[in-house]
Symmetry: C2
Subunit: 345 residues, 2 copies
C-alpha cells in the first residue's frame, strides 16, 4: 500500500507539503495541491485514519444507511439521529438498503464517493469486505441496531434478549403455552439474537417446543403475512404469537384477519390469538384488541449512534451501548373503535 | 456575474482550456486544473446549465429532500424514487426537512456541497431564494408532492382537488352533513389546495358551513390530536371528519378516543364520528371501524419525479404531472379485531 512518502516523491514535493495538502490545509499553493492530489490518486493512496485522512477537510455531513426506510423503527431512528446531529452542528444524508445486501453495497460505494465525515450503518448481512474497505480508508463508522462480526467499531444495539424475555414472560403469565414466533432473517444480527432468545426463554418457561410454531420472515410486512399463514397451515394452533418486528406484526395481524373462520369447525377457533410485537408502532393502541409490545428505543439508538460517531470523528473513543427495552402492556386498555368515543367508557 | 471568459483570463489559460477544466474533461494538466478551479472559486463562477456546468462530471447520485421521513407517504415516495433511480443507474441520497423551513435551507446547503446530479424536493414553504440559487447554479430540480410559486421546474403532484371531492361526495352519500376538516399548514401548497377544495365542495354539496368545523395542523400526528380536540371544544358536533394527511388521521383517531364519553350527557354522543383520511395507511383496515381513505399515490409520484429529473439531467425536457387519486371505501369491511379471526365471519 502506498505511503505518504510515496505520494510526496511522485508529486515532487516535500513530505510536509504532501501532509498539508492531504490534511486539507489551506496553507498550500494551487500547484502543489494539484500535484499531490494527482499523485495520491495515481498511487491509490488512502490515509490510515481520520486524523491523517484525505477526508480531513471536514464537511459536517454524516451518512446514515438504514435497512428499510419504510420501517417505522428506522424512520424514527433516522429522525432522532438527525436531531442529535443538528444539535452538534452536523447534517445527515440518508440511504436505504431496502433489506438488500446488494443495495447496501451500492450505497456504500455512493457514500465513499461523497464528502461525508462518518457513517452510521445498520448492516444487512455478513459480508464485511466493503465495510473494511471504508474503515481502512479512514472513514469513521458506527453500527446502529445491527452489527456484523469481524469489524471492531462502536455498536449501538437493543437488548434483544431481555426484550424477548419480557414478551414471553408476559405471555406466560397470561396463560399462553402455545406461542408462535415470527422471526427475522437469520443473516441479520437482530434476527439471530431474537430467535435465540425466543428458543431459550420458550424452554425456560416451559412453553410448547412444537417446531411448527416457529417461522421467519425478512422484517417486512408481506413476510409476516406469509410466515403466519405458514404456521397456521402447518396445523399448529397457537393462542399467541410474538412477531420480531413491527412491520411483520402488521403482516401477522393481516394474516389472522385473512385466515378468517379457520377455527370455526376446528377444535380451537383462532379468535383468541394474542399478538405481541417486538417494536411498538403508533397505531397499536387503536386496534381491537390493542397490541402489546416490546418498546425498542429507536430514538435512543439514533441519538447514541450520532454521539459515538461524532466522538470518533473528533478523535475520541466512541462508546458502544445495549439500549434497554421496556414492555407496553395494553391488555387493560379498551379495544379498538378508532372513530368512536365509546372507548373512554 | 462572472463569465467563463473572466475565469480563463484570471487563470491565465485559453478559453478552451477553461472550458475543458470546467466540464470535467480529463484532457487537462494538473496545473491548469488548479488554476482554473481557483479562478472559478475566486470569481464565484457558476455555469449556466447542466450542459456547461461544474457539475458536468456526473456522479449518478440524486438528492431527495422530503418533508417528513416519519410520514409514511414520504417514506413510500422515497422508496419508489429509489427503485426507479436504481433502474436508471442512479442512487438516491435522502434528507429530511422535518416540516421545517430552516432545516430545509440547511439541507439545501448540504446538497449544494455534495456531488449530486440533481435534486427532487417537496418544498416546505414560500421562500424560493435558496432554490433559485441552486437552479441558477445549474443543478437540475424537480418538485414532488408540493410546489412553490415563482420557480419554473417540473412538478409531480397529486390531484388534491379531485381527492377531496371524492371524500366529501362519499361522506355526503352516507348522509353526513356536519363534516369537520383537519387541514394542513397554509404555507404548504398541498395544505392550501386541500383546504380550498374542502371549502368549495362543502358548499357545492350543501354541507354545514359552520366555521367551528374547520381546523388545521402541520401534517403531523400531534397536530391532528390538537386540531380535533379544538373542533370538539368549540362545541361543534361533527358526525364525520376529513383529515388532510395520514399522520393527522392517526391524531384524529387518538383524539376521538381520548375525548371519551364527551357526548354521554350531550345530545349527540360522539360514537358515530366517521373518519376519512387523505392518504391511505397500511393499518386503516385493522381498526374498528376501518378507516376509508383517498389513496394518494406516493409510488407514482416518486417514480415520475425521478423520470422527470433524469430527463432534465440528460438534457431532455422534464414532464409535469398531476397524479390521479382513488377512493378506498372500507364501509363494507368487517370491523377491527387485529388479533381475531371473527372478522372473517
Amino acid at each position: 500500500m502506498a505511503t505518504i512518502k510515496d505520494v510526496a516523491a511522485l508529486a515532487g514535493v516535500s513530505l510536509g507539503t504532501a501532509s498539508r495538502v492531504l490534511s486539507g490545509s489551506s496553507q498550500t499553493s494551487p500547484d502543489s495541491r494539484a500535484r499531490v492530489t494527482a499523485a495520491a490518486k495515481e498511487l491509490n493512496y488512502i490515509a490510515n485514519g481520520p486524523a491523517r485522512s484525505l477526508r480531513r477537510s471536514r464537511t459536517d455531513v454524516l451518512g446514515l444507511l438504514v435497512s428499510d426506510i419504510r420501517n417505522p423503527f428506522f424512520s424514527e431512528l433516522a429522525h432522532a439521529a438527525e436531531r442529535e446531529a443538528q444539535r452538534r452542528g452536523y447534517t445527515v444524508l440518508l440511504a436505504n438498503a431496502d433489506e438488500d445486501a446488494d443495495q447496501e453495497a451500492a450505497y456504500l460505494r455512493t457514500f465513499a464517493s461523497q464528502r461525508i465525515d462518518g457513517l452510521l450503518i445498520a448492516p444487512q448481512g455478513s459480508d464485511v469486505t466493503p465495510l473494511h474497505a471504508l474503515r481502512d480508508g479512514g472513514l469513521p463508522l458506527v453500527f446502529v441496531d445491527r452489527s456484523v462480526e469481524g469489524l471492531d467499531v462502536p455498536t449501538i444495539g437493543t437488548d434483544n434478549e431481555d426484550g424477548v424475555r419480557r414478551a414471553l414472560t408476559w405471555l406466560h403469565g397470561r396463560g399462553h403455552r402455545e406461542v408462535a414466533f415470527v422471526g427475522g432473517p437469520p443473516e441479520v444480527s437482530t434476527g439471530r439474537e431474537r430467535r435465540a432468545a425466543f428458543l431459550r426463554f420458550r424452554d425456560e418457561l416451559g412453553l410448547s417446543a412444537d417446531p411448527r410454531l416457529v417461522a421467519h420472515g425478512d422484517f417486512r410486512a408481506e413476510s409476516g403475512v406469509e410466515a403466519m399463514h405458514a404456521v397456521l397451515a402447518s396445523g399448529a394452533r397457537p393462542t399467541a404469537v410474538l412477531s420480531a418486528d413491527g412491520l411483520m406484526t402488521l403482516g401477522v395481524a393481516r394474516a389472522l384477519r385473512e385466515a378468517g373462520p379457520v377455527g370455526a369447525d376446528a377444535a380451537e377457533p383462532l379468535d383468541a390469538v394474542e399478538i405481541v410485537s417486538f417494536d411498538d408502532l403508533d397505531w397499536f393502541s387503536l386496534v381491537s384488541p390493542p397490541i402489546s409490545a416490546v418498546r425498542n428505543d429507536a430514538t435512543a439508538i439514533g441519538r447514541l449512534g450520532v454521539t459515538a460517531l461524532v466522538d470518533v470523528i473528533e478523535g475520541r473513543p466512541g462508546a458502544s451501548h445495549r439500549v434497554a427495552t421496556s414492555f407496553v402492556d395494553r391488555s387493560g386498555e379498551p379495544g379498538g373503535s378508532a372513530g368512536s368515543a365509546e372507548a373512554g367508557a
